[in-house]
Amino acid sequence: MATMDTAEPSRRDFLYIATGAVAAVGAAAAVWPFVDQMNPDASALALASTEVDVSAVAPGQIVTVKWRGKPVFIRNRTPDEMKKLAAMDAKSLKDPESDEARVKKGHENLLVVVGVCTHLGCVPLGHAGDFDGWFCPCHGSHYDASGRIVQGPAPANLPVPPYEYVSDKVVKIG
């Protein structure tokens, strides 16, 4: 093939490239089912929702419920805790978000967050850490009583799951 360097691309070159391209597309199409089978299956995707009677959560108490295989914390915050939160400067946080944006209007004392540390997925301990919110024992992340990251390696606040009040007492998560 040493004489080919000045030659125009031949019909054979075109056929080689076209054949190779078809084979590559075919191979990629065949690989995809083997990759995608590892994604969540239909049973995992069937979005389960959980209903919780929040009137039973006493002031200061944290209740843990299971939603989509994960713990969800429901915390009834005391007036004292609310006062401390109001005094905090949300803008100085790593993931700035006001406490009001994380609760439902008329139920400001009640916080609902997914109880999974945003660092590497451990379940943080309630009423612990330097800010009286949560403390993750795995790698030392401190959250405040609004579930916002204040100190430690976690990059984001504890996420608020989609939820709504189906009545004054009952919250539906999911």
Partner: protein
Amino acid sequence: MSGHSTYTPSNGFTRWIDERLPIIRLSYDSFVAYPTPRNLNYWWTFGGILSMMLVVQLITGIVLVMHYTPNTAMAFASVEHIMRDVNWGWLMRYMHANGASMFFIAVYIHILRGMYYGSYKAPREILWILGVVIFLLMMATAFMGYVLPWGQMSFWGATVITNLFSAIPVIGDPIVIWLWGGFSVDNPTLNRFFSLHYLLPFVIAAVVALHVWALHVVGQNNPAGVEVKSEQDTVAFTPYATLKDSFGMAVFLVFFCWFLFYTPNYMGHPDNYIEANPMVTPAHIVPEWYFLPFYAILRSVPDKLGGVIAMFGAIAVLFVLPWLDTSKVKSARYRPLFKQFFWILVIVGCGLGYLGSQPAEGGYVIASRILTAWYFFHFLVILPVLGLVEKPKPVPESIMADVLAKNAAH
């Protein structure tokens, strides 16, 4: 090294085979006539010890699978069933669990031997890189195997390690969900880890074959760090290396058996005898001891992505080690400064291991940061600079000259 074959079939039958599939010739040339440097010390027996441990893990693992159930509802109970009901089940499981630790002890010694005697330098770069690949595969295999008993440490170890990938920007979270097959570590995760834990040891065996192939092309390094120049420098693999390796294996087995029969849970964690509970993380989670230095590096960086990059970087740096070390002299014997820095690195590695086992707070974090910085400083700054400024001691002319000089000193 792969010179002409000296094998001659001894009878008609072996000649018949040799003309069709020269497998006896290959074995003879690789493990009988193969020339090994005559000055090898006992640190060179760990290759054989590691091969032995791979076989131990394969055999005990295949046996355990005959009794284990990979389902979140039954996995924990089936491991207890192995421990209590299955004939010799306790022995099989303790051999497999302690065998993993022994495997890592041997591999760390093997890696450090390579570093001390400069075994990664030309022409052994590919041999070294294949070794790092085996090390990575071992870590993946050990991690997935640790998840199978479905105890608290299994579950939370799996959660933390898979979450490492969530640090990747944009595609991190979809990758984690793909790895889990759900929205948390659950039955699909256990099943796929089981499948891969069975597969990977055979992949390791295949890469070990490449590792040995590369070794037999370039020949073994040796404590003097000079290449084989004449037949005088070598002895035949059998009986010399065969017997020396066998003795090393026997001594290592005594060490293994001491753990196996006298303190089989020493290197495990009591929390893993509690069944997995997705709602409660144990107060103090730690990985198995062989991951602790890397875990300490992960936690020393106060940023999620940064920590993950540092941890993987600590292993990635090993891949380019042959090009970071600029010294032409291989063996630390003739490199007075390198020798000191080598031992400092060993101490730093052990220090990181200790810090990885401690809670991530206060002075422990500060110490981890200092040692992590030193780890990278060693590879990225000290090694390249040392090759330029260090004045090595005179290197022996040949392996034979080294052996004679050593004997003359007595």
